[in-house]
């Protein structure tokens, strides 16, 4: 009876779009670092943590006002608690497991037992609860519990929470993890020497040295000495003890330099990768960006014209020299092979509008890059460069949205300038965006008042604008000079020409009346 009800609820949840939307939203905000709005939550959390720790420090010498205490104990803890519960909730989907089990049971004609899915989900949730970051989260909430007020020091666990919200610390840990083997070996060696030397000093001096009374004192001395810290509160008094000291001092120096070099080399090996990851993270925060493949003449030209910083971009080239040059020229560049699946998939393919410019000088490579991008997502727009007309077809088969033939473009310009000189100037003026003939594309969607309006009802003439036509949807057809009865739809794009100010005025008018 109960199980039936639960299955029903599970199905209802599974069917509910709203539930899914909400859950996806929280998942994105909490766990998906590609999500645009995650950074706001991150900043808020960092702020809460820092203020909380600040209060802890302030409290040591000053009496804390009531509001501060309330803020620290209740508000911050409450937010942390909510966060903890949300993370617990989005970690996995109970209803999906129930449905899966239920359907399997129906299929196999065996009785449906609620405890199977519950056990599975519990296992996964427990696994989450005992994960290090979840434990830290839990400990960070604890100071709110009054009887545990003595454990004010638990507030310090909130500092550990920073780990979750700051990438650099995570990266540091990741880098060290790559040298796990070396570091563990050294740690083991360190423990071994500390241990032996500790026992030795204990045996030699326990009776003679008033400072060493327990084995713990001996280990403490040993570690302080081997780490070259040497407080001097305990020092050997016998010949034998001094000999042991000399031995561990030397081995200590050797070991410290060894550890340092291991960490440094781990970083220098990973430095480029870290930098590149940083570039990718940065660019992934944008809604639209361009990935430029290949740093050659054309890319240089393209970037040189990109003065206004209209688009955010990143250059990918597999040639180390060229990447170095690009970085030297002040561009964001990554030394990777853009035709590899895992390289492009690092970018925020799901949420951002990505345009790939495939501008290397090899057709084969350009086609491969295009195919690679398109295979990841059809949404990625690809503009590729081809050497000649015969290649164009292949590029189009590969799904390239726009094939650029540099020779053809130049030829076309040359021919137009000679065959149709008047038009050449006109087109040139239009394309370079000269003031008189500014051509602009107005998306109906952005100017709400245009939706469902008849073309005849819009007085373009009074704005001194020439209305050329509409593009019906991004992939749709272009309608030149549509009839006055045509009704504008949301996905339409108007093509207008006129003085820049006329078009600005037109846009402004429609935006304002919309608001």
């Amino acid at each position: 009876m109960i199980s039936e009800l639960i299955v029903k609820i599970a199905f209802w949840l599974n069917g509910s779009v709203r539930y899914k939307q909400i859950k996806t939203f929280f998942f994105n905000v909490l766990e998906n670092s590609d999500y645009t709005y995650k950074k706001y939550l991150d900043s808020l959390m960092i702020f809460l943590i820092l203020t909380s720790v600040g209060i802890l420090v302030y409290e040591v010498r000053n009496p804390v006002p009531q509001w501060m205490d309330t803020y620290d104990i209740y508000i911050v803890s409450f937010i942390f608690l909510v966060e903890y519960l949300l993370r617990f909730w989005v970690h996995d989907d109970l209803h999906k497991v129930i449905i899966r089990e239920y359907e399997q049971a129906r299929f196999l004609h065996k009785p449906f037992l609620l405890r199977v899915p519950f056990a599975e989900v519990c296992k996964s949730k427990i696994k989450y609860v005992i994960s290090p970051s979840a434990i830290i989260d839990m400990l960070a909430i604890l100071p709110a519990y009054r009887p545990l007020r003595i454990l004010r020091i638990f507030v310090l666990f909130r500092v550990f929470k920073l780990l979750r919200y700051t990438k650099s610390i995570n990266q540091f840990v990741d880098v060290l993890a790559t040298k796990r083997f070396e570091l563990f070996t050294l740690l083991f060696l360190l423990l071994f020497i500390t241990f032996t030397a500790g026992i030795a000093i204990y045996v030699f001096e326990e009776t003679k040295n008033p400072n060493i009374t327990t084995l713990f004192d001996a280990f403490y001395w040993s570690l302080v000495t081997i780490s070259t810290v040497g407080y001097g509160d305990i020092s050997p008094v016998t010949q034998e003890g001094k000999a042991v000291s000399m031995f561990i001092i030397v081995s200590g120096i050797a070991m410290i330099s060894f550890v340092t070099s291991v960490i440094v080399s781990a970083f220098s090996e990973k430095l480029d990768e870290l930098k590149e990851n940083r570039i990718i993270e940065d660019i992934n925060r944008n809604k639209d960006f361009i990935i430029i493949c290949g740093y050659g003449q054309m890319t240089k030209m393209f970037l040189r014209q990109e003065i206004d910083g209209h688009n955010d971009y990143v250059i990918i080239d597999k040639n180390t020299e060229r990447v170095k040059q690009a970085i030297k020229d002040g561009y964001k560049a990554i030394n990777e092979d853009a035709s590899r699946h895992d390289v492009i998939s690092k970018f925020n393919v799901d949420y951002a509008n990505i345009t790939v410019l495939s501008l290397t000088n090899s057709d084969i490579e350009n086609i491969y890059i295009a195919l690679n991008a398109k295979s990841l997502s059809r949404k990625i727009k690809v503009i590729a460069r081809a050497t000649d007309e015969k290649m164009k077809k292949k590029f189009e088969l590969a799904g390239v949205d726009y094939v650029l033939l540099p020779n053809n473009v130049a030829n076309m310009m040359l021919l137009t300038s000679i065959n149709q000189p008047v038009m050449y100037n006109g087109i040139h003026a239009i394309l370079t965006g000269r003031n008189v003939a500014h051509i602009d594309e107005v998306s109906v969607f952005e100017y709400g008042d245009l939706v469902n309006k008849k073309i005849g009802d819009i007085d373009f003439k009074s704005y001194k604008i020439l209305f050329i036509g509409i593009q019906r949807g991004l992939e749709g057809e272009f309608v030149f000079n549509p009839s006055k009865e045509t009704v504008l739809q949301e996905e339409d794009i108007l093509l207008l020409m006129g003085l820049r100010i006329s078009i600005e005025y037109f846009k402004e008018n429609y935006v304002r009346s919309h608001l």
């Binding site: 473009v409 030829n411 040359l414 008047v422 370079t432 050329i468 000079n481």
Partner: protein, 236 residues
């Protein structure tokens, strides 16, 4: 009189350029200094193909070239191309010399050598990418004007004497019912500059002015015929 156009170099660029040039408007000469390309140009059906050493001024002078000629330098060898531009400029100080370059440095050298217009392969391509990214619809439309495989195009129509458009204010006319849009005009009275309709200047059309319209080719044909037809009617 037809103008003459000289294409220097019949390599990859030169050949596709020559193919695209409207031969009814220009008398086309092809000049080559390589035997193989010279033969190829001939076998492609060009009549005026000249084989000569472009580094020698005497040989260049022997060409029927004048200050009114169009000279297109598209030699494969960029050094030769720059040198040729320089020699031609020295010989014909007022001729229009156009050259294609494929790097910033060559562009600069060609300009210094005296080319009137240098089309930088990468620059125009980069420009194009910008346009595709920012104004995809407009770019598509403008492309179709240039290439002849699309039905919409530009048309320059000269207003004949007594036409229905003679003496009309440009802003008052609405051609859209004819399926044609008025983009601008070239006024003989003012200057020979192209004036965009959207510049907002009140302008009266006169006989001899050239209007530039865009539209489907059929509509443009009909429209042009209409202007001329009325003219005949008035004359009768």
């Amino acid at each position: 009189m037809r103008k003459s156009a000289f294409v220097f170099g019949y390599g990859r660029r030169g050949s596709s350029f020559a193919k695209g040039l409207k031969t009814d408007d220009y008398h086309l000469y092809i000049v080559e200094n390589r035997e193989e390309e010279y033969e190829k140009a001939k076998s492609d059906g060009y009549i005026d193909v000249v084989y000569l050493d472009v580094t020698k001024d005497e040989e260049l002078e022997s060409l029927p070239m004048s200050n009114q000629s169009y000279i297109i330098c598209v030699m494969e060898d960029e050094h030769l191309n720059v040198f040729l531009t320089l020699s031609l400029r020295a010989l014909f100080p007022h001729a229009t010399i156009v050259a294609i370059s494929d790097s910033i440095h060559v562009t600069q050298k060609l300009k210094m050598a005296g080319a009137s217009k240098v089309i930088d392969l990468y620059q125009v391509s980069a420009n194009r990418i910008h346009n595709i990214l920012r104004k995809p619809v407009a770019t598509k439309l403008l492309d179709s004007f240039i290439s002849n495989d699309y039905a919409i195009s530009f048309r320059e129509i000269e207003i004949p004497l007594g036409s229905c458009l003679d003496g009309v204010m440009a802003n008052d006319i609405d051609f859209s019912s004819h399926g044609v849009l008025l983009l601008g005009m070239i006024d003989v009275e003012l200057s020979h500059k192209f004036i965009f309709i959207t510049s907002g200047i009140q302008h009266k059309l006169d006989e001899g002015d050239t209007i530039v319209c865009i539209g489907y080719n059929e509509d443009l044909d009909r429209f042009e015929a209409k202007i001329k037809e009325i003219k005949e009617g008035q004359q009768q």
